[in-house]
Amino acid sequence: MEFTEKIPITIEAQLKEQPLFYAATDLMNDGQFGKQWLILTRTEVAIWAEDGNLTSSLPLSDITDARVAGGVGGGTLIADTKRGPVIVLRYTAALTSIFGHVAKLIGALAKGEELPTASEKDFPRLCPKCRTPLSHDSLACPVCKNNGKVLLRMLSYAKPYRKQMIAAAIMLILTTLIELIPPYLTKRLVDDVLTPKDMGSALLWIVVGLAATSVVLTGMQIVRGLIGVWIGSKLMGDLRRDVYQSLMRLSLSFFDRRQSSQFIGRVNSDSEAMRQFMTDGVIWVSGEFLRVVAIAIIMFSLDWKLTLLALLPTPLMIIMSSLLWPKMGRLWYQQWRSVFRLNSIVGDSLQGIRVVKAFGQESAETSRYSASNRDLIKSDIRVQGIWQGVFPIFSLIAGAGTLLIWFYGGRNVLNDGMSIGTLIAMITYLGMLLGPLQWVSQMLNWASHAISAADRVFEIMDTPADVPDTVNPANIGRVKGDVEFKQVTYGYEKHHPVLKGISLNVKAGEMIGLVGHSGAGKSTFINMICRFYDSDEGTITIDGNDIRTISQNDLRQQIGVVLQETFLFDGTIAENIAYSKPDATELDVMRAAKIANAHDFIVQLPDGYDTRVGERGHKLSGGERQRVAIARAIIHDPRILILDEATASVDTVTERLIQEAISRLVKGRTTFAIAHRLSTLRNADRLVVLDHGKIVEVGTHEELLQAEGAYFKLVEAQKELSQIKGVESA
């Protein structure tokens, strides 16, 4: 209950009995924002206003049931009474889960059933301090958290390369100090040699000194550069690896909601931006900082009054920089969004290029692209424009300092208060000092770019897997294959359940055919066994173990799938067959292919088992791909087998080949099969008919036909359909 607020004292004082449950809603009954309290006791459902006035109450004896009616962006809690339904309260989408629970509570109270207990999932997850919604799996509030954290976290990637970083830093300090020597030598040249016109050996030595510093400087810059490149590439590699690993770890539901083209850009360009910041950025910034400090010290020791004067414009530059910082960050994000939109249009239309061409929509797609392209051009111009405008202004301000030195320093020289050499040295040093200050803006660019990139990258890394792996997985070894569904309810979007209270007990080795209209929940049913998603309610057990207590690795070891879209990876046929068992011998691969009726056609291919398939390789026909997929499942040797429409869209000969392969595959394994063609499920031990997410019938083909229920209707409908098809093809 730590996420719920306490009842206000004004209300609590008036309560006659201990509340069973209470919750605050964020809407008034007329739909305005506002706070009301629902307080549930054993006798009534009461609604209180925040100020302690009772708004309404409904005796529980009147209520027969309760439910929520979900709207869009909000919902309504409705109590069914003997006099018809009554609206209890309204709430926004943030509170959907908690009032879903309230409805169940009221319903159970009214019907005298056992009260459901609230799980943590039922409460809105808000930060106790600032009421900001929290992400699903972490209690750390993103608003209350430290802002520099992203930066620190980013820098933590540099840790493994500490030694190299230190070497680079030492080089940096040395080069910075050496860079300061030439202006001093110049000063000596002017004051000691040129002004007195003293042609001694000094000229030669000073020039030799200048030459030596340049040579040393160049050498050190090269070495530093090489170290930088080395660290940078390593860092980049680490980042990319981590992002990719996170992507693989995430649950399917994460990808359901996003376009995959989005990630390709993220993995590469965002990690590049972060690397740039960490290697070039950090080294450069610290080097420049060091230089500024050193130059300031030298300048002050040469002539502190003049230095103060020359530094007058610097606060202005710093203020300008800090004003620009947040602005630029947003503009960069904006530009990134435009690029992202453009990329997803390209991704979309190229993936669907057949549809585009078939409907003759090339020009529509082009204009869609052009519109986004224009957006990008606009935001490009804006970002770059501000950039280009800022620079000259910075140099103008910086130039003002130089002018001041020329004027006052020049006067000092004329009054003999200062040597010409010192004046020249001052001007050179000031140039070196203001250089990095102008570039403070470039630092903003790097930093803000990198931080927003880091934000996005860490977002992926931080997204909790919806299907978390258990901490102490049960060791299941090789399972028998008993599968049991106990009251399983699940919806891809909560409160739109696709499966409702499914209960089914399947014995090891049994073949279950799943039947129903499209959208009845067949594929979801299968996804639940694979644990691609976690059930909202109820449990699924394998050999009596809740699948949540089994590590996902172990679980998938036991499960083999042959899916509707047979996806073959880029690689040879042999590699694809041995996908789940890379150490399979050539004989294993051939045996599996033989069982899958694939061996013969593979051998006849010019490249045999070494034929490259996948995106770039040899195009196999649908039936061939399916048989390769079956071979893949056979070599996996799972205890539980899942077949999804394995024989859709192939000719009858191929279908027979596949059917044979499948019947060999299912032998001795617990099998769940989906097929649109009901005839292909004849071999199933039991058929489970799903309708609107519920099991409506279970039985063998013959039993169900005799019962003349839902299955019978499906069969009849299909018969009609095949007759029409027969006419079509005739």
Binding site: G71, P85, G329
Partner: protein, 183 residues
Amino acid sequence: MNELEVKEVQEEQPAELAEKDPFEIHLLEPERISFSRSSGGVFQAVIEGKAYDEIVLFRVFPFRYTTQFISVRNPKNEEIGIVRDISLLDRESRTEIEKELQLRYFLPIVTRIESVKQKADLWIWELGTNLGDTRIVMRNLHEFMQFPGNNRVILTDMNGKRCEIRDYEQLDSHSKRQLRDVM
């Protein structure tokens, strides 16, 4: 040839179906429907002479038409028919249907944007709406802001709460400034 086929199909159909094609969109005639609210606050209707004690409304084109093409359904989600334009209904029905739509499609209209701040990885919007002040929290902008066109913006909260900016050109200058930074 074609005509002949059509005729045959019609003859095969039972008389009942022939007059009411199940695949035809059934538009409700404004004179034959009336909406009201029960004492419990539940939305009810009498449609073509039949009384329904609970009715659920759906906007067919929630973004494009907010007061036209309203699908009227019973709680079992069976479509009774479609109201083409609610402005053609009688006054009481119109007020009730408008109210019900507003409640079911909870989409406050933004009247003022107080601030848009980025804290850590969250975007926090402090908004004034026609239904009172509220705060919207987004994980990022590119997934939680939608632009259906005509200067409209739909803002979606991490929890699914939504707000609408009807026309960002019509907002006051402070709000526009806040918005410009993030659009």
